[in-house]
């Protein structure tokens, strides 16, 4: 009976090792003469076999053992690396992936018998060349292979479950809030302030370390993509080269899971509907970069592109839009059609314009993350999807104030300038305000929050910018500038348009972070 106590550890480790194997396979496909790569592959396979044996996953052990036999034969040049052998080894990765998923979902190994037979067949075909003696010697010496010529080999890592990291993050955040609270209380005592500065430094170091722990490199996250494209290209009989430009970025785990799903969906679309079988130079580029407070993801292909007139025709045919609507549609409206759920579910795979499969899911995912997706494409000129996702931040420098009973925050990033008026003004029903000969629209937070009979008497006005528009927001006379700690958005805020998310202020009180977009609506 497999030991359940170590199952999670086994799964996490196996997933990581499979990713590394995948990288090594892809590198090996290009540099098949690099024997160090096979050594690294052997080392990981051997380690996986040991772990599977500990867990008593005997069929998995068998698969890994047979795969090892093939690698030994390849290492000792007893077996030639043919396309067929390479395919069966890539298939082994697929089978092991599926097996792990089965262990996660059903608690037991998948049926591996067919693949075991295939691996045996490869070995049998080369039986005369494969010498058991060499194998045994090599196996015995495996633990002593010290060379790690390939950059892809990394030393043993400890797998920490994300929920443990979340817990650690929560404790550090609480410490940070407590520290801010303490700073407020003792701000007038010089000795205490000195001690507080020391605590400040320690907490900052701790927060930075936790942040590092939560961060993963995109190179690591993107490592399965080449294999995915390779498999898709084979299935679709297409010739595609995948170029990944991750710019050496590392991001917080909270955004990575969603991000990789979006990219995989767009890659599939590019592969299935963008690149054609006739193309010899099919190319898909995945680019990521940081732009202001967002991560920009571009998935572009040089395929047949999207024929927007054809998209319009399909939408009409599928009755997604009426003829009257179609006549008034601008290109930007037509582009939105491919993200329509009904369009996506329609059968459009055979036509040039039909790239809709799964795009509605992409848009939904992006919207859930408060991001945006834009598509640029024209017939025969490929397609380019650009996604902007706001970076997950845990601390936000904000303006914090209270209106009525509501405790609110406005992120400093959305404020261009704070105007300090020479005297107190009552902001009641005015809709405009002139400052330095510029007329601004005035937003009343009391009105937004549906608080009746509340006037704001203040000297403070914030100029907020959004999409080239500027508005003025009267802020209460007592408005503080401080760091607030962002918390996981509660479910009850799912449909709330006024509040973007919730944070915790220095006094330990939850503060509602205003949705700036809504103020402009």
């Amino acid at each position: 009976m497999p030991n359940n106590k170590y199952k999670t550890f086994y799964i996490d480790t196996s997933v990581e090792q499979l990713k590394k194997l995948s990288n090594l396979f892809l590198a090996w496909e290009k540099h098949s003469k690099d024997l160090y790569l096979i050594e690294d592959i052997l080392r990981i396979t051997h380690s996986m076999k040991g772990a599977a044996a500990t867990m008593e996953y005997n069929k998995t052990v068998k698969v890994l053992h047979l795969a090892e036999d093939i690698f030994y034969a390849l290492l000792h040049k007893e077996l030639e690396l043919s396309e067929k052998v390479l395919d069966i080894l890539f298939k082994t990765l697929q089978v092991l992936d599926k097996n792990i998923k089965n262990i996660i979902s059903q608690g037991k190994e998948a049926n591996l018998d067919i693949h075991i037979k295939s691996l045996k067949q490869v070995i049998k075909n080369n039986a005369t060349k494969t010498k058991t003696k060499i194998k045994k010697q090599a196996r015995a010496s495996l633990s002593y292979i010290t060379h790690s010529g390939s950059d892809l080999y990394t030393p043993l890592e400890i797998v920490v479950p994300t929920d443990r990291l979340d817990k650690l993050q929560r404790i550090v955040d609480s410490l940070f809030v407590a520290k801010m609270n303490l700073q407020c209380l003792i701000s007038h005592d010089p000795d205490s302030t000195k001690s507080c500065l020391e605590i400040d430094r320690i907490v900052a170091d701790l927060r930075r370390e936790v942040k590092e722990l939560r961060t993963m490199s995109l190179a690591q996250i993107f490592s399965p993509l080449p294999r995915l494209v390779r498999e898709l290209a084979k299935a679709e009989k297409k010739n595609v080269n995948l170029i990944i430009e991750d710019n050496g970025l590392s991001l917080d785990k909270t955004i990575l899971d969603d991000m990789i799903d979006i990219i995989v969906q767009l890659l599939r679309n590019a592969m299935v509907h963008g690149i054609t079988t006739k193309q010899k130079d099919g190319q898909i580029i995945v680019q990521t970069e940081i732009v202001n407070d967002s991560v920009k993801i571009v998935v572009a292909d040089n395929g047949q592109g999207i024929d927007w007139q054809e998209i319009l025709a399909i939408a009409l045919k599928k009755k997604i839009i009426t003829t009257a609507q179609s006549k008034e549609m601008k290109l930007s409206d037509i582009k939105q059609l491919i993200f329509d759920g009904h369009f996506s579910s329609s059968s459009t795979t055979s036509i040039r314009g039909g790239r809709g499969v799964g795009l509605s899911l992409v848009q939904k995912r992006v919207k859930d993350l408060r991001g945006s997706v834009v598509v640029d494409s024209s017939k025969n000129k490929g397609a380019r999807f650009t996604i902007l996702l706001p970076l997950p931040v845990s601390v936000l420098w904000s303006l914090v104030f209270q209106i009525g009973n509501f405790y609110l925050a406005l992120p400093n990033a959305s404020v261009i300038k704070i105007i300090r008026l020479p005297k107190l003004i009552v902001f009641d029903k005015q809709t405009n305000f002139v400052h330095k000969n510029i007329k601004y629209s005035l937003i009343s937070l009391a009105k937004v929050l549906e608080i009746k009979k509340l006037s704001i008497v203040t000297q403070n006005l914030a100029i907020i910018k959004h999409d080239n528009k500027k508005i003025l927001l009267p802020l209460p006379q007592i408005t503080k500038e401080e760091d607030i700690i962002i918390k996981r958005t509660p479910k009850v805020l799912k449909n709330n348009k006024i509040v973007s998310f919730v944070a915790v202020a220095a006094d330990g009180r939850p503060v509602l972070v205003l949705n700036v977009d809504y103020l402009f609506d």
């Binding site: 929560r170 009973n405 549906e450 996981r488 009850v492 449909n495 709330n496 915790v504 009180r509 939850p510």
Partner: protein
């Protein structure tokens, strides 16, 4: 096959008794500060912060249309679907072991336990969120 006994803590809300299942995530505390939420159903009072958790406070008395005397100031925190919720209560009482039963009534709360032959409803977050129309995933 008979149901297994589970542990519950009895809580008082405006003189009415309810039961809260005991789990590792439950916690009782005095509410210090509440942040109300705009555009929100009145049965959700707002948020509070406790032990590093952001807690959505449910107005137990309003949810079950009890005659509130504003005497409820404690919170019974529970974890549901990765989020923390707090039932506003007056006080917490005994811990009991009982079998969980399900009634076929139209009430929001369908689960109950029997303590000294008396039916005590079990506070559940899921049907309440559904009733407030906030359960959409």
């Amino acid at each position: 096959m008979p149901n297994k006994k589970q542990k519950f803590i009895l809580v008082n809300v405006d003189g009415q008794q309810y039961a809260v299942p005991l789990s590792s995530s439950y916690h009782f505390f005095h509410i210090r500060q509440i942040t109300p939420i705009p555009q929100m159903d009145k049965r959700i009072i707002g948020f509070t912060y406790h032990n590093g958790h952001l807690v959505t406070l449910l107005d137990t008395a309003k949810i079950f249309t009890l005659m509130t005397k504003n005497s409820n100031e404690k919170c019974a925190m529970v974890k549901f679907d990765h989020h923390y919720y707090g039932w506003i209560i007056k006080s917490a009482g005994d811990i009991v072991s009982a079998i969980l039963n399900k009634s076929r009534t139209q009430d929001i709360l369908k689960e109950y336990i029997l303590v000294n032959k008396k039916k005590i409803k079990v506070l559940e977050v899921k049907p309440v969120l559904k009733d407030i129309n906030l359960d959409a995933k």
